[in-house]
Amino acid sequence: MAGGKGKSSSGGRDHPVRAEPQHGSSKTSNQEKAQVTGNESQSGIASTIETVSLVLIAAVAFAIRLFSIVKYESVIHEFDPYFNYRVTQLASEKGVDAFWNFFDDRTWYPLGRVVGGTIYPGLTLTATWIHWFLKAALKLHPVEVKDVCVMIGPLFSSFTAISTYLMVRQIKGRGAGLLAASFVATIPSYISRSVAGSYDNESVAIFALTNTFYLYLKSIDTGSMFWGVAASLSYFYMVSSWGGYTFIINLIPIHALALLIIDKFNWKLYTGYSMFIVNGTVLAMVLPVIGFNAVETSEHFSGFFVLALMNGVALVKYLKRTLTREAYKKAFRLFVTTSVAVMGVVSLAVITFAMTSPTLRWSGRSLSLLDPTYASKYIPIIASVSEHQAPSWSSFVNDLRLAIILMASGIVSCFRPLTAGSLFLVIWGVLSVYFSAVMVRLMLVLAPAACCLAGIAMSDLLEVLCRSYHLAQPKPEDAGRKEDGQARRRGRRRNSGSSQQRGTIPRPLALLGISGAIFALSYHLFHCSFLGGEGYSSPSIILQSRTRDGGVYIFDDYREGYSWLRENTDYDAKVASWWDYGYQTTAMADRTVLVDNNTWNNTHIATVGRAMASPEESAWKQFRALDVDYVFVIFGGLVGYSSDDINKFLWMVRIGGGVYGDIKERDYIGEGYYRIDEKASPVMLNTLMYKLSYYRFAETVGRDGQDRVRNTKFGNPDVKLTYFREAFTSKHWMIRIYEVLEEPLLEQAH
């Protein structure tokens, strides 16, 4: 692995030395040959090196994501991937038709969930087909669905590297393309969402995103309808795999509008853009999860608006060409006078229609993007998800590293010269910086943009450095003399020599610069692989800690608890827990749950939150009314596992309080702040959540023992349970399962 890393980065670095990056991509080998006839063999070597480096970059993108398998095991990670895995299993066992008609009656009890119509099917179908291909076509029988699911992330990261290379090559030439690909292959922000086992929508969606952009840019570069169709197909794949497709359907119109404003309209832009919007919209509507939203909600309107505008511009240009000058002037005057009147009426009508129509409202998630404070004000369920929080500055630096530093200079070099493609990168970069600053999850959209811009910046830098080094090489003193002469006659004479000489620096400085760049790149790579291995490989259902003698200690409580449920409870038992663990329970324990991570029904989640925040007796009644047989809580107090239910408890209170008026957040705040020690509020000490978490805890750590997450004593050491009975507690007390009794225990019997 170390060898692979070294090779690929050196490949990326070597490249600009050999073949100067060319602006405008379509002129590849043909032009090279035409330009320098003697260079034929050299360009052959260059393209071989290019291919080899690209293959190595793709290999690194794959390999750097395997740390999680090496360090832990081949296992599905986190929360959402478990649901995707479960659906994939169903699709590969019972066929794709069963997948579309899947009604899940083992979740959201007693409501159930229509999975087939509410899921983005791209990821699951991809995995199903890959599995089918391996098994039926290649006859590889030992391949299991789980293995395919685990490997989807690394596999598509390799594809992302390749499509990024193609895109940046399209915009700025091959050297920049290779550098951008090597950046995107190793960027920690993307690694965190695509390590082996992180089987989530994003892991295929980023490939779809870069691929769509590549094909779109290609279609507006060549004006070919074929590439337009290809771009819309790629967009269709993106729509089918991630809700983030709204970013594309808004970014591309903004870019097209910008091109219209700076008067860069031509038939190629018209072809590429209109093909994309029309075909893309019709395709997107085929998916049940999108449906008529693609023509009815405001997120999609900008595309149609710009399309109409572009048709208007095309018509005006056509008339201008066809009519004589006087007639055109007259027509123009006529058009302006009538259109002002007509547009006034039309826009008034549109605005009133948009204000009154209920379907035109923006969805909550989009609104919380446009107004960062929206979610915390109105939708606690969105605000409560950790990946919807605003990121801290350190995460920008940590997750993007060199890319975020080089990004700014990449934007500058995109303006020299400003082409349709480079303008696209600029807009993408600037917009995604904003969006990622609002929501940490959207760092993922920023990462490829930052990588492309960083690749361009780095390639420009290396190009200048290497050119200086090259030109100075044959006769250093002569070059120096030339420069002097040039300085004297600056601006006077412009021949080919002087244009080559411009922007060069002395040779020692160039050497220093080259070595500096190589050092920065290697250090970046080192940092990325360190972060990929240490920071982002944890599956979060298995935890690791280092023991004092350097060994590794494994906490496997989640799987212990889930397997207890699977082995010891009735198949139809209903299990209540906070929604975070819903997907895992249905997938690993195979039991029916009340709420899960698909937070489609806020009221139902609020019901569970309210029960957890109620006193024991009333909670028992609420759970009995919902047929609940078992309740479990995640408790980290014994081993110091900080993302446990007590720390999430305030969100349960807020979400419950958002629907039910009898729950008020201030009742649960102790003296000064939210606390669980003696100064906690009495309401808090009596909640079901508190009792289930600290039941019998004093027996283990003693009455004066400490909760190792909160680092305080706990307020009520003598928790007694009357309506619940402890059924199972895992080895490190991280998962505690309780049975909901049919009749309350008699006090004395307890």
Binding site: G223, S224, M225, F226, G228, V229, W267, Y270, T271, S274, M275, V278, N279, T281, V282, L283, M285, V286, F292, V295, N311, A314, L319, R321, T322, L323, T324, A327, K330, A331, L334
Partner: protein, 113 residues
């Protein structure tokens, strides 16, 4: 004002008659598709959008066909070709156009049912 309109229209017809025959045929197609889209839209406004997917299929099909034909026309218009674009030959453009049309109709037909 009416005189102006008439004059402009006169100039337009005079200039337009100079365009090659192939482009005129293409223009007929565009006009046809746009009319079809407008008719469907008028029907939707007048009688309601009940089979909404069928309306969407028909409307997008017409609009898409019009736009595709505009793209096609732009690419074969000799007065609009400048510089490097001259190299693209008619067969290639027409093949692209056919592929795109078949693709569009193929998706649109899934809305009819």
């Amino acid at each position: 004002m009416f005189k102006d309109v008439m004059e402009i229209a006169g100039v337009f017809t005079r200039e337009y008659s100079k365009t090659p025959k192939l482009l005129k045929i293409t223009d007929c197609f565009i006009l046809y598709a746009v009319t079809l889209a407008a008719l469907q839209y008028a029907y939707m406004c007048a009688f309601g959008s009940f089979p909404y997917n069928a309306f969407l299929g028909g409307f997008f099909c017409s609009v898409g066909f019009a736009i595709l034909t505009v793209c096609f026309r732009m690419q074969i218009d000799p007065s609009q070709r400048e510089g490097a674009n001259k190299t693209g030959n008619l067969e290639r453009v027409f093949a692209d156009y056919c592929v795109a049309c078949v693709f569009l109709f193929f998706i649109a037909i899934s809305y009819v049912g």
